[in-house]
Symmetry: C2
Subunit: 346 residues, 2 copies
DNA sequence: TTGTACGCGTTATCAA
DNA sequence: TTGATAACGCGTACAA
């Protein structure tokens, strides 16, 4: 039985170490301990050492609930996503979690389910839990709502372009990415390109479609509305949209799907109809989900590092939390040419 | 300007409604309000009505932090997953979230990353946050650790078979599911069946492999170790494992992958090597991820409703939280025959 | 059955 | 720079 053993028996007799116990052990007042932990004021470096030593010895960790009650920070950040199991946003969540963890913050995830009312409710719940900040992944909420909220706490938004005092946004280069995909097909000789869009009331979907149209006209090609089909960003929606395109009788040698999931569905519809990819029809997706490297054939798609975007969002939040100004970064989209695209047959 | 308008201006002058304000408005003491909210004691039904009315009028919601500090419940449940963006566990997370939400509980997600040390750390963090219960999705942690923890708070585990006082587990029928897949192939006339396993130190992987071997021997077939390749439950692992199988020169007409993701990877490897699925080789997966209905060809696989499992886990947790005993339910696995399997050629 | 008074662990305010 | 003291909002013995 060592000396430290004995100490721990007596000192840690009562369960959880508290800030007060640290203060006693270090021979200072509780307020001093608090100040040292939060860096709220300057303190004698000798006491500082003693306090740190006591914290070590007691394995003290501040109680988030008590902090919250007393008006301090809760060390938690609310993250509003749409569906917790979205393959797309999932990567961003991982990036957010990784960075937040490094900074000892805890993420509180909530799902808005692409529903304005639910989003507002979940946001209210997160505020009720007194999160220190909010990271919002896309969604249907009006920009104004976020701008208002940012008066109370820092907000980082992904998938929108709004900025303000405590409001920072990291947008994806949907427009440019879409142009990249279009350019790729055009350079392969495709002239009749079908487009499977996401829901038209969806910001990302709008900008991707816009990029497609813009690139088309820059290359002196006309946009043919008959070659546009709207899906829901899911496999099933891509499948149905492609079937509609096929049944329309319209000719096309290539297809752009506004996201990879719809590309998967479109690919199956194509296959069912007897078309080969890429021999008969070229297919391009958007997002470059991890899975896209393993489809048959591996999918040519627009890559965007969603994980990286999550990381950037979390870093921006940390900066905001420190009253710093996050540095704006654009995450460039880039084309990943795999095997689902090929030179158009003459 | 209506009467209620005026009231709201005066009554809600101070920010957040508190339990005390409710008490005042209802003409009772704070403790009575507390009792009514928590059902801690019987109260005069007249006062009860008055209090509920006051709560409504003030839109009062108890502060979780204050509750936590005072020793009450935090209305939060910790959920330990492995990766927040896992396509497999993601569905379970959604089920958990849906049910928890219905009961006004908030999930606190944490990722263990298939690492025993990290899992323990995250669990500690969740306890520090004073969650009312814990839902653990698989993981590498020793059963004993969970059993010990269950003395302090209710725990529901998915992917293990341990039970105890405040410990409930919902296991997947890995064994039976695997037998189903094997039986399906055998009934199609396949005799040489390759098996792409998950990590051998992984519980699910072990039981699935066991099911495969068992069914084989029941059908008087011998397990050929040369037809076993170990992957990592990811697409890339399935891809590599299949390549190894192909290079071994061993003959086989069908393959079982221990999960869908590895099946996707294996499918690509097969395709790259010039084999057609299912014409040359039949392929079966496990899990029936939503995506599996959209692969080329649509994948025959063992379906298990992971979402449903999440729902059951959350319901069990709610029961435990109410000091009730959850009713044990087994979620049956079932084979979904799609187009990646076919009668063996003679 | 109901109310009073105190404590939970921390931060903020104010003096010293 | 430091320390006492008063909140923060709620649950709960204890008393009535």
């Amino acid at each position: 039985m060592t000396d430290s053993d004995t100490q721990s028996h007596t000192a840690t007799a009562s369960r959880k170490p508290t800030l007060g116990m640290v203060a006693t052990l270090a021979g200072v007042s509780p307020s001093t301990v608090s100040r040292i932990i939060n860096g709220t004021a300057k303190v004698n470096s000798a006491k500082m050492a003693a306090v740190h030593q006591a914290i070590e010895q007691l394995q003290f960790r501040p109680d988030p609930a008590a902090r919250s009650l007393a008006g301090g920070s809760t060390m938690s950040v609310g993250v509003l996503t749409q569906f917790i199991d979205s393959p797309y946003y999932g990567e961003a969540l991982r990036g957010i979690e990784d960075i937040l963890r490094e900074h000892h913050y805890v993420p509180l995830f909530a799902s808005g389910r692409w529903n304005e009312v639910e989003e507002a409710e979940r946001l209210a719940l997160l505020q009720e839990r007194k999160v220190d900040g909010l990271i919002v992944l896309s969604g249907r909420l009006a920009d104004q709502v976020l701008m208002d909220m940012s008066k109370d706490l820092p907000i980082v938004v992904m998938g929108r372009s709004i900025t303000g005092h405590q409001l920072f946004s990291i947008d994806i280069d949907n427009f440019e990415g879409s142009r990249l995909a279009t350019r790729h097909l055009i350079s392969l000789g495709h002239r009749n390109i079908a487009y499977v869009s996401g829901p038209l009331d969806h910001g990302d979907a709008q900008r991707r479609l816009e990029g497609f149209k813009t690139e088309l006209s820059k290359r002196s090609l006309v946009f043919n509305p008959a070659l546009l089909a709207v899906g829901d960003f899911q496999e099933s929606g891509g499948f149905k949209a492609m079937n509609r395109l096929l049944q329309s009788g319209e000719m096309f040698s290539a297809v752009i799907a506004a996201n990879d999931q719809m590309a998967y569905g479109a690919r199956l519809a194509l296959s069912n109809a007897g078309y080969r990819v890429p021999e008969d029809i070229s297919l391009v997706g958007f997002d470059d989900l991890p899975h896209s490297a393993f489809t048959i054939p591996p999918l040519t798609t627009v890559h965007q590092s969603v994980y990286e975007i999550g990381v950037l969002a979390a870093k921006a939040m940390i900066a905001l939390l420190k009253k710093e100004t996050p540095t704006a970064v654009t995450v460039p989209a880039k084309l990943v040419a795999r095997e689902s695209t090929r030179v158009a047959r003459v």
